[in-house]
Point group: C2
Chain length 326, copies 2
């Protein structure tokens, strides 16, 4: 059991571009946060050093003793063996492959460590503190550059056989669709993720059918972030709004398949795209879900926007520390 | 707890065309079975009377006392509230809608009753006694006239929020596909169930491209049962073999989506079509699954043919009786 003097946990959201570290109390309320660039190109040593520095900094700046820290929870992208604390693979941080991240950090920091897939961790955060509190069977879909997902079944985080359940982004939507990062064609992510939307949006800009977007970024696909899409839709680019609606309907098809398969009581939609365009995406995806799912299955299914925004993962990660009761 | 003198359980597979009743011992070994026609057209009273007569007959013929029966387990098609023992809806046996089947049978038979969705019950049978023994996360797909499915998660039958998880047959495969019984278009069942295959097979027969099939049934779709398909493939109708292979590849796409979503360690394929054409369907579906799923997700997933054939449901149902420990 956790000693009473352990008052704090540290949650880390380990991303391919940034590392968000937070100090949280026993209720998983955030006391302070620190954001650092990941710099994957600097390699494994630099990466581990960055994590260590971030942990030290949040503890030191809070002026608390290390003995008061119950442990370190990490939401990590990729396939994670959470029992052994080993990263099986992590496409955006390649050197993590087969790394025993848990034991490496225990050794360097002297803190207990729990590691979980980042999307699972974020969904767990939403289930414990956010949009999914009180629901028993929850599907989470997070739409950003890619599309990730996870499940809560019978009130518990569901991991599957390899700890990597919830790859909603790689549901096959169209066998003739565009090539996906996973090597297959027509996955939901390749059809409706931010990059897929940006690619069609850039084409519309090139065709002079999205004048506001063209003003903003010309035809540079990589500059078309979710905030830009929201801005130009608000400024009147109807073609971009229609594009986002059409893509949201594909997300709704994936939601319908999930409803028919795992019979959830709630679907949580989150991620950068949903944060930027909540009304359009949630409404259109929900309507499409209701059209495509079996009516008896979809009747009482609720859809909600994620609540915790950038803090879902660090909060879920801290909760995992307390669950493990070091 | 179950009194020691309860030596037997009764399992019932309640179908739209037949009712299979079995007497089983504590190890769920089948002692005797009885098959009766369902005669849905005769209505609710006749239906309940048939179940009662079946139960009485298997007990009387075994010359055992009613006091030795621990209870009655029923695998019932449709959406079942297994906690209350109420059938929410059952498309092929319409009068079951909202029927408190459990309390009706407790009253008429004086036996304890447990009711579960039939596909779930059959998968549970396979998990306890058949192809899925020892696996933790299992998806079952059963291909017959329609396509049903179910899940074992963390070694337990997964029911979902409404008790109706596992509607694999209604996964959307092609938005432009044929109309499905559920009212939507392009569901797996409408694309690759036995009726879908029979409809294309009849067309091939009509075009003189399946001479053996034409000899057997001319162009009568309803006569094209799985046994007939197996027979004419063996006799040399290559077009029919190709048709079954092509349809099995669609099942493989659904399997790939399931692998990406729920990360199973085993997928069990069963049902009349798989019993009749095990080599072709299991091989082709598995290959298609491996092509369409994320490689890291599908690597260690096994695929097996169901083992218990017609007895999966009665065995699973009897096991549910013992689990409930009346």
């Amino acid at each position: 059991m956790t000693s009473k003097k352990k008052k704090y946990a540290i949650g880390i959201d380990l991303g391919g571009t940034k590392i968000l570290t937070a100090l949280l109390d026993r209720d998983c309320q955030i006391i302070s946060t620190l954001k650092e660039k990941t710099k994957v190109e600097e390699g494994k040593g630099y990466f581990l050093k960055t994590i260590e520095e971030c942990v030290k900094t949040v503890i030191d700046e809070a002026e608390i003793g290390w003995a008061e820290i119950a442990g370190l929870g990490i939401g990590c992208p990729g396939i994670i063996n959470e029992k052994d604390g080993v990263v099986i693979s992590s496409p955006n941080i390649p050197f993590l492959k087969n790394m025993p991240l848990r034991s490496e950090l225990i050794q360097s920091l002297g803190l207990e460590v729990v590691i979980e897939n980042d999307v699972n961790t974020g969904l767990y955060g939403e289930h414990q503190f956010g949009a999914a509190v009180g629901y028993s069977n929850v599907a989470g879909i997070f739409i950003g550059t890619g599309i990730g997902g996870g499940f809560i079944f019978n009130k518990e985080l569901y991991r599957g056989a390899k700890g990597s359940a919830g790859e909603v982004g790689h549901m096959l939507i169209d066998p003739l669709g565009p090539l996906c990062g996973c090597g297959k064609r027509g996955c939901l992510e390749a059809m409706a993720g931010r990059l897929a939307i940006a690619s069609e949006a850039a084409t519309l800009a090139a065709k002079q059918q999205a004048p506001r977007l063209f003003e903003e970024v010309q035809t540079d696909l990589l500059k078309i972030k979710s905030g830009v899409l929201a801005k130009v839709i608000k400024a009147g680019d109807r073609s971009i709004e229609e594009l986002v609606r059409r893509k949201s309907r594909l997300v709704g098809i994936a939601m319908a398949n999930i409803v028919n398969l795992v019979d959830p009581d709630l679907i949580v939609l989150g991620g950068g795209m949903v944060e930027a365009l909540p009304e359009i995406i949630v409404k259109e995806a929900t309507q499409s879900m209701r059209e495509h799912a079996m009516s008896a299955m979809v009747k009482n299914v609720k859809v909600a926007k994620a609540k915790l925004k950038d803090f879902a993962i660090v909060m879920g990660a801290a909760k995992l520390v307390w669950d493990h009761s070091y």
